[in-house]
Symmetry: C2
């Protein structure tokens, strides 16, 4: 088993079949220049992942067929393994084409089709439980390649153990084309499971993962290869586009790399930056508008946006009301200065008063409450959207996972925006990442006072967040992954709290139905991966 393999960790764009095809053709040429025998692309490289309901459009599937044939024409003297949506036998397949010498010589179809969380591949694709190695001749030697697609590796919940079957049927190497979305520490799980497969099979394993942001999902790359002894033959950067290479002689890495030491928090930061950047650039926007409250959430979002888009493309606005404390405005201003972003202050008072006066008749005889609190948030949301419309920019929402879960946010108010960069980070993660960013900068870009002060929405007098985040943030996370209630009661010793928090999550589903997409960085984010009924009387 002597092969040199290219791992094409490329940032494709969903739907851009032509553009992706060009990138694929160029990568094939590059790999040929480097004398690679095989180039392995990520899952559904040609159309981007996940294509969702585009798969139901005839024109889209036809375009996949046309372009895969075009790629085949341009492929000589190398084996290219290219993912695309294939219509065959009247059904749709999550496929890879095995291309050699200008021809598609074989196809492999994904067998284990994930249909949980953000994945719904059984909505689109068929499968057959019959893994077979691909026969190719490279440099006059014939090889059996064990080609599989993403979830085929993660066979725990499936009947068919694809990797094992492939090896049993003679595969000398496993080549996995993946689109595995980022989440914190996922890289460790990937290394662990692939090492396990190598230990079991004693064949090398090459894993190319997609890179790039797609709506809520961030594909972090981190492609790698292990040789038949489980040693690293390649390890590619997190959240960066690149083509990597690995070379095997008798199944052993020609260059053995030392085991990588993933930096969990740096990987998180890099993933968020990639997610922001790609959402903006792939949507045709360069500039972000952010409401700066002086609090930690908006400060972190501003810092991330600055790193993702550049300080000159970030517009921060403080929008104080009579309930805002002095330090709010000061902290917001200091943050903007530290980051070097645009900054202005627009008081919400005139609009707020104008609404109250127009609503006087309708509000007569009622006391200050939810309507008035929300109104302030909605005036702010409207200001930010007006500014974004005028500047052709996108508003970033600043809610974190804990407060979004508890409904501690206003629809059409602070929930206004195109993307929620930290909507899957709980309040403790927000503090942790903020401190890390300050460390990286080497000074307190996010003002220390912002980190130290008590969190408050400042929508009413003397209002502070009524939660002990040290307890509530992890509790919310656990409830969202359906950790059994009795275990949580055991852990917190506070059944009333557990039930109250669960209840708050339940009764605020309607807000999240209308929330902006948010970047997913855990195994259970809000958004497409969580489908809760709005009308729901389960207690």
């Amino acid at each position: 088993m002597d092969l040199k393999i290219a791992l094409a960790q490329i940032n494709f764009t969903v739907g851009d079949v032509s553009g992706n095809a060009e990138k694929i053709i160029k990568a094939i040429a590059d790999a040929k220049n480097e004398h690679a025998d095989i180039i392995l692309f990520p899952e559904l490289a040609l159309c981007g992942y996940p294509p969702l309901d585009l798969v139901l459009e005839n024109e889209f599937v036809a375009e996949n067929r046309i372009k895969i044939n075009k790629i085949a024409e341009k492929t000589k003297d190398i084996v290219a393994i290219v993912g695309y949506v294939r219509k065959h036998d009247g059904k749709y397949w999550n496929a890879v084409a095995i291309i050699q010498d200008g021809k598609i010589i074989d196809h492999v179809h994904k067998i284990n089709l994930p249909t949980y969380d953000v994945f719904d591949e059984l909505r689109y694709f068929s499968y057959v439980n019959n893994p077979l190695p691909v026969n190719v001749v490279i440099k006059r030697r014939s090889y059996k390649l064990g080609v599989e697609i993403c979830e085929d590796l993660w066979d725990d919940r499936y009947e068919t153990k694809v990797t094992r079957e492939l090896v049993k049927k003679g595969a000398e190497i496993i080549l996995n084309a993946s689109a595995s979305p980022f989440r914190v520490s996922k890289i460790k799980e990937r290394i662990a499971i692939i090492r396990e497969k190598v230990n079991e099979s004693n064949v090398p394993f090459v894993y190319t993962n997609l890179i790039g942001g797609q709506d809520e999902l961030i594909f972090d790359g981190n492609s790698f290869a292990l040789d038949n002894e489980g040693k690293f033959a390649a390890y590619m950067p997190a959240s960066k586009e690149a083509i990597g290479y690995c070379e095997f002689k008798d199944g052993k890495a020609v260059n053995v790399l030392s085991d990588p030491q993933p930096n969990i928090i740096e990987d998180l930061r890099a993933a968020l930056l990639l997610g922001i950047k790609d959402y903006f650039y792939k949507s045709g926007f360069k500039d972000a508008v952010i409401g700066l409250s002086g609090g930690i959430d908006s400060a972190l979002v501003a810092a991330l946006a600055t790193d993702a888009l550049g300080a000159d493309h970030v517009y921060g606005f403080a929008m104080p009301s009579k309930f805002s404390s002095d330090h709010s405005l000061k902290d917001a201003e200091q943050l903007a200065k530290n980051l070097g972003i645009h900054f202005d202050t627009i008081s919400v008072e005139p609009m707020y008063e104008s609404f109250l006066s127009s609503l006087e008749k309708q509000f007569a005889g009622t006391s200050f409450g939810l309507a008035e609190e929300n109104l302030q948030a909605r005036v702010r949301g409207t200001i930010l959207m007006s500014l974004a419309n005028k500047k052709n920019a996108l508003v970033l929402t600043t809610g974190n996972k804990t407060e979004i879960a508890l409904g501690y946010c206003t629809l059409y108010g602070d929930m206004c925006g195109a993307l929620g960069p930290i909507s899957d980070l709980n309040k403790l993660d927000v503090y942790g990442l903020s401190r890390y960013i300050n460390e990286q900068y080497g000074y307190d870009a996010i003002p220390q006072n912002t980190i130290d002060k008590m969190p408050s929405a400042e929508l009413a007098e003397d209002q502070y967040d009524p939660f002990d985040y040290d307890i509530v943030s992890p509790l919310v996370d656990d409830l969202l992954i359906n950790k059994p209630i009795e275990e949580l009661i055991e852990e917190t010793k506070d059944p009333e709290l557990v039930h109250r928090i669960m209840h708050m999550i339940r009764i605020t589903e309607y807000k999240r139905w209308q929330a902006a997409p948010g970047l997913r960085v855990t195994s259970k984010a809000f958004g497409q991966g969580r489908k809760m009924p709005l009308v729901n009387h389960f207690k």
Copy 2:
């Protein structure tokens, strides 16, 4: 085959396992009083349909188990067929329990699990392709019952033809427990397919369908039974809760009913009223707030809300700006008077001017455009939300399918609201239903001028909707069901229009991501049944 069967067309609530169990126990008692031999409940009667990610909660599944056993205890001298979520063999099943004499004597699991459009049952449930009749003894005679669940009937796209298999294996009658959501003319399809099954099998077919609104979905009931000659043995009302009965002697209906003549537009109206009513009442609200523009969409929504909730529970607000025509205010006022709903006028001008003045510095040197148009809509949205918050009411959005598709609506503006009653009706449907409602009322409740005038958003001078709805509305509908582009070009003879409309749908996906839930009345509505990427470069 001599049996009397009760069809329990009951309005269950998702998650209300206890309450649903009580309703089931009461229905069983009623059916026993009527000397029914069997009572057939809808799909997942015990937990409500669709339970979505509640299925992933241990406590929910446990509650299903506890309550199905409780129901069993209370069931004597009748066979009850009750749907629930069952955990068995470590897997989850969309099941019915066959209950007799205080015991669960058998289970049937759904085989064809729909996973398309709004359905995602493969996300939750397992299946085995082995349909088997249930053996029961009733009045000392043993019967083979062909019990199946909803999609098992609609076997076109599935390998397993459940009905056929059941009859082949001796089933003397088919009992189908369904949760089939309403869409226009769906009742005709149901009758046609069941008649086809009866013609093929020569056994009677009893079909109990769920009734009630659940978020976007409306279950319309319309349960019925055909005898072994395809004659109607029962036919139950659309969109009303009831228990119906059918009696067979030697497989023939004891009382043959004449074939029903569904009233398509009345069924649509009834379904929408049910959808509104259940969304409000099941969420604990009684009152609706609606912005009345004087246009046809808001007029129709107000009329529907009035019929669903009662005139005293509907609050209409006209919110004119300087761009509003005189007739807008007059028509809105007239409508409110005709319907007898609350009405008030709140000019948006003071708030609009207040925003412009606070944004003066930022807007300096720019001309009137999108930001200013959206701003008016957002001031209106904020007014309505403030009123709803104060009155503990829900805002109804008034967008129709055509304008939502084209993005002719403002996020956080006219898109503010809890529910979109007409978001799946295209502009022509809106006119049709409005005329029908006036006919039913016997006078022009919706003012004739509202029906006759040219549609306009009135967000700028002399602005009229730039679409010929006679062409564009059906074109949009066809594009949403993925009718091939070439056919649409053939039909319209206007390739530029087809591509332009398609492009408008594509670039406005981000708005619909954050849209309120809307009542689904066609085979392809926006919302959970349509999953398009936001970043999408497919042309």
